[in-house]
């Protein structure tokens, strides 16, 4: 089967610091890949290389059969990679609905001249966006849908994360990147997150998900394909049981002494 995303020997250097060192991996359609690793291991850098925020110093990124290495972010989104951020980056002074509609930017096309001289078409486009956004919000959570006219900045933590995912889904992605979605959550909220992602997978079997995660409970829920990164290098890959028992992974998390004690 053809891989949806293929990263080959991606290297990212910032001056003397090697944030990513020849990392290679691939993910097929409908798969979930969990990326784990200690803080500062290069997981977020990996996301930034895939989404075009950084141009890798060396190596290649192929998505859906096209080389997208170093393509600007907005093009990468248009090709079908959506993402969320580690710290919530909602447009907090805009309404929940507007946040989702902005997510549809690459799927709408009115330009300045169109907006000025064809107001009818522009209005119809926005009306269609509102309808689609409401469907997305309803599917995400009834609670979020009820609050759709409130500023996004007033939402509670769990709803903020749901809105981030809904906004990313609005761009109709083939691949969704979730950067530590469980950060700052308690057990109940984490369970809800796991349920959300599982539901997403049943609703959209074609959607691939890459998940950066620290919380092993979340990783355990999606155990098929796990990759561990440390000091910018891939140190283990496989299913969760295999990665967990890898001595280098244990070393990265617990330190040399603990493993050999």
């Amino acid at each position: 089967m053809n891989a949806l995303l293929e990263v080959n020997d991606a290297t990212m250097r910032f001056g003397g610091l090697v944030a990513l060192n020849a990392v290679s991996f691939s993910i097929g359609r409908g798969e979930v890949l969990a990326v784990i690793g200690p803080n500062g291991a290069g997981k977020s850098t990996l996301f930034n290389v895939v989404t075009g925020v950084y141009r890798p110093t060396a190596g290649h990124v192929r998505f859906d059969g096209v080389d997208i290495t170093g393509h600007p972010s907005h093009e990468v989104v248009a090709r079908g990679i959506g993402r969320t951020f580690q710290t919530s980056r909602l447009f907090s002074d805009l309404s929940v609905l507007d946040n989702v509609i902005i997510g549809m930017h690459t799927r709408t096309k009115t330009g300045v001249l169109g907006a000025l001289f064809l107001p009818g078409a522009s209005r119809r486009e926005m009306a269609a966006c509102v309808e689609k956004a409401e469907v997305l919000l309803k599917a995400s959570s009834g609670d979020l849908f009820e609050q759709r006219h409130r500023p996004a900045g007033t939402l509670a933590q769990a709803d903020r994360r749901r809105l981030e995912i809904a906004r990313a889904l609005a761009s109709e992605p083939k691949l969704l990147l979730l950067d530590e979605p469980s950060v700052g959550m308690d057990e109940v909220e984490t369970d809800a997150l796991i349920a959300d992602i599982s539901r997403l997978r049943t609703e959209r079997p074609e959607l691939s998900v890459i998940l950066i995660e620290h919380d092993m409970r979340v990783v355990e829920a999606f155990p098929d394909h796990v990759m561990c990164v440390d000091y910018g290098s891939r140190i283990a890959e496989g299913d969760f049981a295999k990665v967990k028992s890898d001595p280098r992974v244990q070393e990265a998390y617990l330190g040399k002494a603990a493993v050999h004690a």
């Binding site: 989404t51 925020v53 600007p72 972010s73 907005h74 989104v77 248009a78 959506g82 993402r83 951020f85 980056r89 909602l90 447009f91 907090s92 002074d93 805009l94 309404s95 609905l97 507007d98 509609i101 902005i102 997510g103 549809m104 930017h105 690459t106 709408t108 009115t110 330009g111 300045v112 169109g114 907006a115 000025l116 107001p119 522009s122 209005r123 486009e125 926005m126 009306a127 966006c129 509102v130 006219h149 409130r150 500023p151 906004r167 761009s171």
Partner: protein, 391 residues
């Protein structure tokens, strides 16, 4: 529809009454402050205005109710507005000074709406709006004087020239932001003014003299306007012309704001990195904001040049850009109505405060600070989009 909102929904008749009443009240206030002579009168009116805004700040329901009334009866609102604007010069009569103030206020309203695309929608601090305004004025004046082009032809020509200038400032600005971006635009503004000052073909510091008055269907704008036996001074021609331009600016602003363009600008105002992750080409949308700003500013510049028939670099200084920026901030960022109110207030106020002679600027500063203390978000802050559904 939530129960809270439905209980506040005004009835049809009530809404129409509110809409007409509010607009007449606004017009009456404008009339009074334009006619006010002594310092005491002006201070009294300002105190009244301040009290009004204090009430709005304490009771936000009032704003919601008025807004609901307007969206309930859009036709009544529009007709009233047109009637008020058309009849206003008749109320003013032969007072050319008041008409002059109104024309300048309307041109500033257009400039402030132009800048609002950047400062209000996208949070781009552009200090070069004055320069775009100047380029519009000079291009049209030069075309009219040297090539005898009519006003109506110079209007689009000036707009195109200024839009190109907008792209020109926009391109280096793509790589900078915030303070650095502000510095780049200040530099552009100063460079343009210095060039106008030093070129021979722009008349240097003496500027351009003898810009011919426009005419329409054989009626010269320099001659008095006669309507059904009523004779209005020649300024009335330009009053209606600039009112028309304000309408164009409002329609432009409204259409862009309610399209995906306005949303994209708002997104990059809130968080540039997140905006990029939604597929917004941030650099392009910034340049676009510069171009739209310059386009509208050039229209205002053209009308100004033909109205006063004499322009010099002193009309388009850095201070003009700062004034326009203050209008947007005081009026309310990203609120079309607020920006217009800001422009009128800041045009009329300094004139009326002449009564305080030497303390005029001091008093002006105090008034602005006072209003911003009552309404820190600007007189009319931005509102959440509603998409025309009842809620």
């Amino acid at each position: 529809m939530s129960t809270r909102a439905s209980s506040e929904m005004p009835g049809l008749g009530q809404a129409a009454a509110v809409v007409v009443g509010i607009q007449l009240l606004g017009a009456a206030f404008l009339y009074l402050i334009l006619k006010a002579e002594g310092g005491l009168e002006v201070v009294g009116l300002l105190a009244l205005l301040a009290a009004g805004f204090y009430l709005l700040e304490k009771r936000p329901q009032i704003t919601d109710f008025v807004m609901a009334s307007f969206s309930r009866t859009p036709v009544v609102a529009l007709v009233t507005a047109v009637v008020v604007v058309v009849l206003f010069p008749f109320a003013v009569g032969n007072n050319t000074y008041v008409l002059h103030l109104l024309i300048v206020a309307q041109l500033y309203a257009v400039l402030a709406l132009a800048l609002n695309f950047q400062l209000g929608s996208a949070n781009i601090p552009n200090f070069a709006t004055g320069a775009s305004y100047g380029i519009g004025a000079y291009v049209s004046a030069l075309l009219a004087i040297n090539f005898g082009l009519s006003f109506w032809l110079t209007l689009p020509a000036a707009a195109i020239a200024a839009t190109l200038f907008g792209f020109l400032i926009g391109i280096p600005s793509m790589r900078t932001r915030d303070t650095y971006l502000a510095l780049v635009t200040i530099a552009f503004g100063v460079v343009v003014q210095q060039l106008l000052n030093n070129f021979d073909w722009t008349g240097g510091p003496n500027g351009l003299v003898g810009i011919p008055a426009p005419s329409l269907f054989g009626h010269s704008f320099a001659s008095p306007l006669v309507v059904f036996g009523w004779k209005l001074p020649s300024q009335a021609n330009f009053y209606y012309l600039s009112a028309l331009l304000v309408v164009v600016a409002i329609v432009t602003a409204h259409r862009l704001h309610s399209s995906r363009i306005g949303l994209a600008w708002n997104a990059l105002r809130a968080d540039e990195i997140a905006a990029r992750a939604q597929g917004i080409n941030v650099a392009w949308f910034k340049v676009l904001a510069f171009a739209v700003d310059a386009f509208l500013a050039a229209f205002a510049g053209t009308i100004y040049a033909f109205y006063v028939s004499y322009i010099s670099p002193d009309n388009f200084t850095f201070l003009v850009s700062v004034t326009i920026m203050t209008m947007v901030i005081v009026g309310g960022m990203d609120n079309i109505f607020g920006v217009i109110v800001g422009a009128f207030l800041l045009t009329i106020l300094p004139e009326k405060l002449r009564a305080f002679s030497d303390y005029r600027l001091l008093f002006f500063g105090i008034v602005i600070i006072g209003f911003l203390m009552i309404r820190p978000q600007g007189l009319f802050p931005q509102r959440i989009r509603s998409y025309g559904e009842s809620r």
